[in-house]
C-alpha cells in the first residue's frame, strides 16, 4: 500500500464499472496510488488493463452511463474529487488537473482553430481577455516547440501533423499551469524522433514548473527514461507499484517480469525469437475473486484461483499483488 505523506493526489480503492447491455464490465478494481509533488508516475500495462479508465475516473470524464464509479476516494487539495459537484469539478478540470488524451488525431475538435482550443481554458479559468489569452497561447505553443507559433494559431487541427497535434494537446493541458498533468499514451502514435522531442520537453517542464505527472504508456523504454515511480496494471488492478529502478531491476510480479522480456531492443544482442505472454487478457465481466493473471502465469498455484491477492510491500516503497515471492521462488507467506 502506498504510504501516506505529502501527496498531491491520493487515490484509494477506486472501483469503476461499465454497466452495458450484456452485463457489467469491471474495468477498474480497488486501485490505490498516490502522487508526490513534482513526481512522474509511469503507468504501464497491457491494452485493456484499465489505465485510461482509472485516470478518467479521477476527474469524472467517463461517459455516464455506462460508466459508474462504485467506490473509492480521490483526495486532491483536501477534497474528495468523487464527491464534488459537477460545477466544482468543471472549475478544477483544466485548471488544477490537465489531461492529455491517448489519441491526438481525434481529440482535437476538427472545426475550431487550434488557437481557439488553446485559449478556451485560459479564458474560462484564468479570466483572461482575448488578447492576453492569445499571447499566452503563443507562449504555450512555443513552449511545446511548435515553430512560428503565432501564425499557426489560426490553423485547424487537420493542418497539423500527428506529432504537432499531440503537442497542441499538451499545450492545452498545460495552459493553466496545473498541479497535476495526466498524459495518456501521448507518444504512442508518433515516431521515435518526434517522441524524443516530446520527452525532452516533458523533462524540461517538470524542472521548470515542478508539476506532478502521470504518464501512461506501453513503452517500457519511455518509462525507463523519464519516470520516478512506476505502476504496472493488469486486469483492472495494480499488479506492481514502486520506484522505477527498483521495479525494473527486481520485478516482483510475474506479469511485470514477462513484460520486460517481450520487448526487443535496438541495442545489444538480438534475440532469435521474441518472448510472448501466452494466453489472453481477462474478461473483467465479474468482480475478481481470483488472481486475474493466473491463467497466463508461469508460477500460478491453487491459492491464485481461490483468492485475489492484495498488495504486499516487497521493499521500501515497492509493493506487488501476488502470492508468489520472486525472491524465494515460492509462495509468499501471510
Amino acid at each position: 500500500m502506498p504510504e501516506t505523506g505529502l501527496s498531491v493526489l491520493q487515490v484509494q480503492n477506486l472501483k469503476t464499472v461499465f454497466a452495458t447491455r450484456a452485463g457489467d464490465i469491471h474495468a477498474v478494481n480497488s486501485v490505490s496510488f498516490e502522487l508526490q509533488p513534482g513526481e512522474l508516475l509511469g503507468v504501464v500495462g497491457e491494452s485493456g488493463s484499465g489505465k485510461s479508465v482509472t485516470m478518467m475516473s479521477l476527474i469524472g470524464l467517463l461517459p455516464s452511463p455506462p460508466a459508474e464509479v462504485r467506490a473509492g476516494s480521490v483526495q486532491f487539495d483536501g477534497k474528495d474529487l468523487l464527491k464534488l459537484s459537477q460545477r466544482d469539478l468543471q472549475a478544477l478540470r483544466g485548471r488544477d488537473i490537465g489531461f492529455v488524451f491517448q489519441d491526438p488525431m481525434t481529440s482535437l475538435n476538427p472545426v475550431f482553430t487550434v488557437g481557439f482550443q488553446i485559449m478556451e481554458p485560459l479564458r474560462k479559468h484564468m479570466g483572461m481577455d482575448k488578447a492576453r489569452a492569445r499571447k499566452r497561447a503563443v507562449d504555450l505553443l512555443e513552449l511545446v516547440g511548435i515553430p512560428d507559433a503565432s501564425a499557426r494559431l489560426s490553423d485547424f487541427p487537420h493542418q497539423f501533423s500527428g506529432g504537432m497535434r499531440q503537442r497542441v494537446m499538451i499545450a492545452i493541458a498545460l495552459a493553466c499551469d496545473p498541479k497535476v498533468l495526466i498524459a495518456d499514451e501521448p507518444t504512442t502514435a508518433l515516431d521515435v524522433t518526434i517522441q524524443a522531442q516530446i520527452l525532452e520537453l516533458v523533462k524540461d517542464l517538470r524542472q521548470k514548473l515542478g508539476m506532478s505527472i502521470i504518464w501512461i504508456t506501453h513503452d517500457l523504454g519511455v518509462i525507463a527514461g523519464i519516470a520516478d515511480r512506476v505502476m504496472v496494471m493488469y486486469g483492472g488492478q495494480v499488479a506492481e507499484y514502486g520506484p522505477v529502478r527498483e521495479v525494473f531491476a527486481n520485478p516482483a510480479h510475474p506479469y511485470t517480469r514477462a513484460l520486460m522480456k517481450t520487448v526487443p531492443s535496438v541495442r545489444g544482442e538480438r534475440a532469435p525469437q521474441l518472448n510472448v505472454i501466452a494466453g489472453q487478457p481477462p474478461m473483467l465481466s465479474q468482480h475478481p475473486t481470483s488472481c486475474p493473471f493466473r491463467a497466463r502465469c508461469a508460477h500460478a498455484f491453487d491459492r491464485c484461483a481461490r483468492e485475489n491477492p492484495s498488495r504486499v510491500v516487497v521493499s521500501e516503497g515497492h509493493d506487488t499483488a501476488c502470492f508468489w515471492d520472486h525472491k524465494t521462488g515460492g509462495p509468499r507467506h501471510g
Binding site: T20, R21, P282, M283, L284, S285, S290, A295
Partner: protein
Amino acid sequence: MTDTATPPINPDEAFRPPRNQWWDVWDQFKTHRGALAGLAVFVSIILFVVVGPMVWQVDPGQLNIRMRNQGPSLDFPLGTDQLGRDLLARLMYGGRISVAVGLVAMFLGLVIGTLIGVLAGYFKLLDSPLMRVTDLFLALPLLPLLLILVTLFRDTLARTFGESIGVFLLICFAIAITSWMQTARIVRGDVLALKEREYVLAARSIGTPSLRINTRHILPNVLSPIMVSATLGIASAIITESALSFLGLGFPPDFPTWGRILYEGRDWIEQYPARVVWPGVLISLTVLSVNYIGDGLRDALDPRIRGR
C-alpha cells in the same frame, strides 16, 4: 476459464459451421423492444388487410344508402361513409393496395436510388453526370411527368398485365421514379466515404472486382441511411398514391385505398372526423412500425451494437 478474453465457449457455437448471418441479425433483432413492437404492429396491419377481408366478409363497394354517415355500430364497427359503405371493410380492402404500393414503390425507389448513389459514389467518372441527373429529377414537375407516364404506358401495361396489375405497376413505377433522389444523394455521400475505407482497399488487394466490392463491402455499410429513407419512403409512397388516384392517374375510383379514403374524408372532417382519423391512424401506424423495425434492423445489422 471464466476470465480469459473470450466468453465461455458455448458448446453449440463451437465448431458449428458458419451459419447464415441473418440468424444473428434475427437473434439481435429479438432483443430490441421497439423493433419487436413495430414488427408486431406491422404484422397486425398486414393481417388486417390480408386476412381481415376473409373474416369480415363485407363488400367494401356495397352501398347502403339508408345507412349513410353512420357512427360505429355492430353492423358497421367503424361506421359508414357518405354512400353507406362500410368503413372497416374499405380500410381492410384498401389497405391491401396502400400497403402493397407503399412497399413496392418504396422498394423500387430504394433500388433506383441506391444504384445511382452507389454508381455515383464509387465511380468518379459517373459522379458528376449522375448527380446532374438527380438534379434534373428533383427539378422535374411531378404532375406533368406523371400525366405523361400514364398516357404513354397505361394502355400498354394494361394490355400486357391486365388492368389492375398494369395500373399497380405503373403507379409503383411512377412513384419510384419520382422519389429516389433523396436516397441517391445520401447513399452517394456515404459511399464516397466508405470507398476510402481500408477494408475496401483490402478487398481490392485480394482481387475482388468492383461489383462484388460494392455488394459485399459497401452496400451493407450504407444500410442505415437506406433504412431511414425506407421509413420515410413508405409514408410518402402511400400519400402519393392517394394523390395520384385522386387526380385520376391511379387506381379506378372504386378502389378504396387509404389515401383516397383520407382525401375523401377531408371535406367531412368537421362532421365525421372518424373518417379521416381511421385511415390517418393506419398510415401513421404503418410508418411508425416501419420506423421502429428499421431502427431495430439497423441495430441488428451492426455487429458492433449486436455484441452489447
